[in-house]
């Protein structure tokens, strides 16, 4: 039950889910949410490889940095979303058509 393949399957599943969310949703927050899924799947793959393939802790380090980057990305991304909402009064992705104002 606990085997290499099962973790990778879950990881791939999370990746696909994230991709679908990113592709199917028009809400910017939802797209960020999809990004979180994808990042998680990558981190999970890293930790899995670390456990089964390389047998050292470098994968853990990668997972940690992925989490750090996810935190930074979420902070900045959500700040941008809030700012966007203040200007456009919507967070529909297709409304983001201008680079100024």
């Amino acid at each position: 039950m606990i085997s290499y393949g099962s973790y990778l399957l879950i990881s791939a599943f999370l990746f696909v889910i994230g991709l679908i969310i990113m592709m199917a949703r028009k809400n910017i927050v939802a797209i960020l949410l999809g990004i979180e899924f994808i990042l998680n799947s990558a981190a999970l793959s890293f930790v899995t490889y670390s456990k089964f393939i390389t047998k050292n802790l470098d994968g853990h380090i990668f997972a940690l940095f992925i989490i750090v980057i996810a935190a930074a990305e979420a902070a900045v991304g959500l700040a941008i979303i809030i700012r966007f909402f203040q200007i456009k009064e919507t967070i529909h992705i297709d409304e983001a058509t201008e680079l100024r104002n």
């Binding site: 990778l8 679908i20 199917a24 902070a75 979303i81």
Partner: protein, 180 residues
């Protein structure tokens, strides 16, 4: 190992179920909560992989930080009003323009199908690898690695976080002329 199997099962089911629900829910607020479930599930998977520190960091950062931030963002942007319409089956794919996009998408699905078939035949090899090594503390090792081999990345990530903090604060603050 029983405990681990139980933990793995619960975590895997939690992860998969939450992510599926996250896709199919109409309410973005609910989606965030499902994300929370999926993240907790992934943390449980980390636990079964012996990555205790990564698991707890996952909970700490995602549950304590990112999910709450997302909830805030959804609330501040009036997430409740946003309910996707016509989210069933083929309609899940948003309209992307014209026939060309559908053509490309169908090509893509063909390729996807091919990749999936390839993967399917390789799956049994993966399931053979089972690791039964005992748990040991990763905290000490991780700490040493972070300040020796990965010191530069560690320092850079601190700079990144500081930049993100300041940047987010500046971006989200309303401009002066808009305050009035």
């Amino acid at each position: 190992m029983l405990f681990l199997n139980v933990l793995f099962g619960v975590s895997a089911v939690l992860t998969i179920a939450s992510s599926l629900l996250c896709v199919f829910t109409k309410n973005i607020m609910h989606a965030c909560v499902y994300l929370l479930g999926a993240l907790l599930g992934v943390a449980g998977l980390y636990m079964t992989l012996g990555a205790d520190f990564v698991a707890v960091t996952q909970i700490m950062v995602y549950v304590g930080g990112i999910v709450i931030l997302m909830l805030f963002a959804v609330m501040l942007t009036g997430g409740k009003e946003f309910v996707s319409k016509a989210q069933k089956l083929l309609n899940l794919v948003p309209l992307m323009g014209n026939k060309w996009t559908f053509l490309i998408a169908s090509l893509a699905s063909l390729v996807f199908a091919g990749v999936t078939v390839q993967l399917y035949f390789k799956l049994p090899e993966f399931f053979k690898t089972v690791d039964n090594t005992e748990f040991s503390s990763t905290v000490d090792e991780l700490g040493k690695l972070l300040i020796t081999d990965h010191l530069l990345a560690f320092e850079l990530s601190s700079v990144l976080l500081l930049g993100a903090l300041v940047g987010a604060a500046i971006i989200a603050r309303p401009r002066k002329e808009e305050v009035k």
